[in-house]
C-alpha cells in the first residue's frame, strides 16, 4: 500500500511577460501579458512506506514544485495527490503534523531565537510527549552534535550547523514521511557525510519514508535505492540506481600504464583510445561487446604493462548524459507503469 500517490499531477505558473525598455515597461503596465509556464507536466509515481527515493533533475525541472505540492504549500493546477490518505492542499494542517520537510535553501527555524528555544517551540506546536522529545533530542545530539551551538541564536549559526539544526527540527515529531529539498546544498564533504549517515540511520530505525531532491549524486548513491529523474516537468526515469547504471553505464574505461619505450598500440575492434598522458593510456570500450578480461589478456601478452585499472562510469556522468539528451531513455525502463517499476525494485505491490 503506497503512502504517497501522485496521479496526473500538473502545476502551471502564470508568468508576467516583461518587455524591455521604458516603452516596454509602460506597455506591460497598461496591457499586461501573461505566459503560462508548465512546471510539472502530468507526472505519476507512488512511494511505499519506508522507501528512500531520490528525486533528481536539472534546475527548474519541477522538483521543488512537486515537493511543495506534496506538503500542501502549493495547490496543484490539476491532478491528484494522496499522502497518508490525505489531500495535501485540503488537509494541510492535519498532514503537517505527520510529515516533515527540509528546504535546504531556507531555514524553518526562528531566526532570532536560540536553537534550544526553537526546539521547545516545536515541541509545543507538534504536541510532542516529553518522553519522545527527550529520546529524539538525545539521538540528534549524539549524531548531529547539536550541543555545540544549542544556545546560540539561529542567525549566528554556520550553514552546516543550521542545516543540522534544520534537519533535526524536521524530525523531532517523528514524521512518517520526510521530504528533503536539497538538504546538503552548500555543505562541505564532512558535513554532507554526517547528514547522509544520520538520514540513513533514521530511515533504518524509524522506517521513515523519505523523498530526496538533490543535485549531488553522491547523496543519492549513498542513501537511495530508487531514483526518479524529472526534466521539464516530466518523469524521464523511475527505477533503481543500479538499474540505471546497468542500462546506461555500459562503457568502461581501462587505464593502462605502459613500460618505457613501448611500441605504438594496435587495438582490437570496438576499443578506442581516448586519452594519452606520458606513458599512461586510456581505452574506452563497451562492456557488452568487449570483455575486459580478454582486452587485458590481449594487452599484457603484446606489451610491457606496469599497471591496469578498469573504471566504471560514475552515476553523475550518466545523469549528465541523460540531461543533455545523449542517452535515449527507453520507455520500458522508466515509463510510468507500476508493474515495471515494482519488478525493477523487486517488490510486490
Amino acid at each position: 500500500m503506497p503512502i504517497i500517490e501522485v496521479n496526473n499531477l500538473v502545476k502551471d505558473y502564470k508568468l508576467n511577460v516583461r518587455k524591455n525598455g521604458l516603452i516596454g515597461s509602460l506597455q506591460s503596465l497598461i496591457i499586461p501579458e501573461y505566459k503560462i509556464k508548465r512546471a510539472v507536466d502530468n507526472i505519476n509515481f507512488s512511494i511505499d512506506k519506508g522507501d528512500m527515493v531520490g528525486f533528481i533533475g536539472p534546475n527548474g525541472a519541477g522538483k521543488s514544485t512537486t515537493v511543495k505540492m506534496l506538503t500542501g504549500i502549493l495547490t496543484p493546477t490539476s491532478g491528484k495527490i494522496n499522502v497518508l490518505g490525505l489531500s495535501p492542499s485540503k488537509d494541510r494542517k492535519k498532514l503537517a503534523s505527520k510529515i516533515g520537510a527540509v528546504f535546504g535553501q531556507r531555514t524553518q527555524l526562528w531566526w532570532d531565537l536560540p536553537v534550544s528555544d526553537t526546539f521547545d517551540l516545536l515541541k509545543y506546536i507538534y504536541r510532542i510527549p516529553d518522553k519522545v522529545f527527550k529520546e529524539n533530542m538525545d539521538m540528534f545530539n549524539e549524531i548531529l552534535g547539536l550541543n555545540e551551538f544549542f544556545s546560540q541564536p539561529v542567525r549566528q549559526l554556520s550553514l552546516g550547523q543550521r542545516m543540522r539544526a534544520d534537519i533535526a527540527a524536521s524530525l523531532i515529531h517523528n514524521p512518517e514521511i520526510i521530504l528533503f529539498d536539497e538538504p546538503t546544498i552548500g555543505l562541505d564533504v564532512i558535513a554532507k557525510e554526517k547528514i547522509r549517515e544520520f538520514i540513513k540511520q533514521v530511515n533504518k530505525e524509524k522506517n521513515t519514508t523519505m523523498l530526496f531532491t538533490t543535485h549531488d549524486m553522491m547523496d543519492i548513491e549513498k542513501t537511495c535505492k530508487r531514483m526518479i529523474i524529472i526534466d521539464h516537468g516530466i518523469i524521464i526515469y523511475d527505477g533503481t540506481v543500479d538499474q540505471i547504471k546497468k542500462r546506461y553505464g555500459t562503457t568502461r574505461t581501462l587505464a593502462a600504464e605502459f613500460g618505457q619505450g613501448s611500441d605504438p598500440v594496435t587495438l582490437p575492434e570496438g576499443v578506442e583510445m581516448v586519452e594519452e598522458k606520458d606513458n599512461k593510456k586510456y581505452f574506452q570500450f563497451n562492456k557488452d561487446k568487449t570483455q575486459a578480461s580478454s582486452l587485458i589478456a590481449y594487452l599484457t601478452s603484446k606489451y610491457n604493462i606496469l599497471d591496469l585499472t578498469v573504471q566504471e562510469p560514475e552515476i553523475e556522468a550518466i545523469i549528465r548524459e541523460i540531461y543533455e539528451g545523449g542517452i535515449n531513455y527507453d520507455k520500458s525502463v522508466s515509463g510510468n507503469s507500476k508493474e515495471g517499476l515494482s519488478e525493477q525494485l523487486g517488490i510486490s505491490c
Binding site: T71, L74, T75, R92, K93, A96, Q105, R106
Partner: protein, 247 residues
Amino acid sequence: MAYRVEYFAGLINTLILIFVNIAIWKAIYGEDGSFDGIQLQMVLTYIILGFLMQSIFGMDEYFISNKINNGLISSDLLKPISFRLLVFSYNFGLAVFRIIMNLIPAVILSVIFFKLLPPFSLTMGICFLISLGLGYLVLYCLNFIVWLSAFWFYGTFSLVTIKDAIVVIMSGALIPLWFMPQWLYDFIKLTPFDSIYYIPISIYLGQIPSNEIIYSIVKQVFWIFLLIGIGHVIWKFATKKLVVQGG
C-alpha cells in the same frame, strides 16, 4: 540597546503628536472654549484618546507581504498551525506589548500634562473597554484583507498607505466625526470605519446614550463577522494562488 531607543522614541512620538494636536485644537477654539456647543476639554480628550488608541492599534503591516516576498511563508505553512491565527497572534502580541509598555505610561502622562478627562461613568468606562477591543478587531480584519493582496501584488506598500489614509480620516481617529459634513457623516455610518475609533471614544465621552450603546456594539460585532467572512473567502483564493519565491 537599539530596542530601548526605539521604545523611548515611540513613547515620545505619541506624546509629541498629542501635544501638537492639542495646540491646533486650542488655536481653533480660541479663547471662549466652546464651539458648536462642544466643550474644548471634551474634544481634547477625544484627540488624546484617538492617539493613545492609535499607538496600540499599530500592526505589522508587512508581516504577510514580507513572508511572501522572501518565501518564508513556506516554513509557516509546513507547520500544523493556522497561518491566519499565526498572523493574528503576532499582531495581538504586539498590541499587548504596546499596552503594557507604551499605553500605561502615556495615559499617566496624559492625565498629568494634558488633563485627560475620566470616562463619563463607570459603566461607560467598561463599555468603552469592550468597544475598544471590538474596534481593534474591526481594524485587524480590515487590515488582514488589505495584507492578503500581497498574494497577488507582492508589493503592498501603496495599498497599505491608501488604506491608512482612509482609516485615519473616516474612522475619526484624527478629527471627531461630529465635525464632518452631514452627508459624509451619514456615509461613514454605513461603513466599518466608525467602528474602529469613533464608537469607542464616543462611548467613553458619554456621547452615545446608554440605551444606544448596545446598538453600537452590535454594529461593531456585525462588521467583525462580515470582514472575517470576506477575509476567509479571499484567503481561500490566496492559498491557491500562492507562488513560493526563490526556488
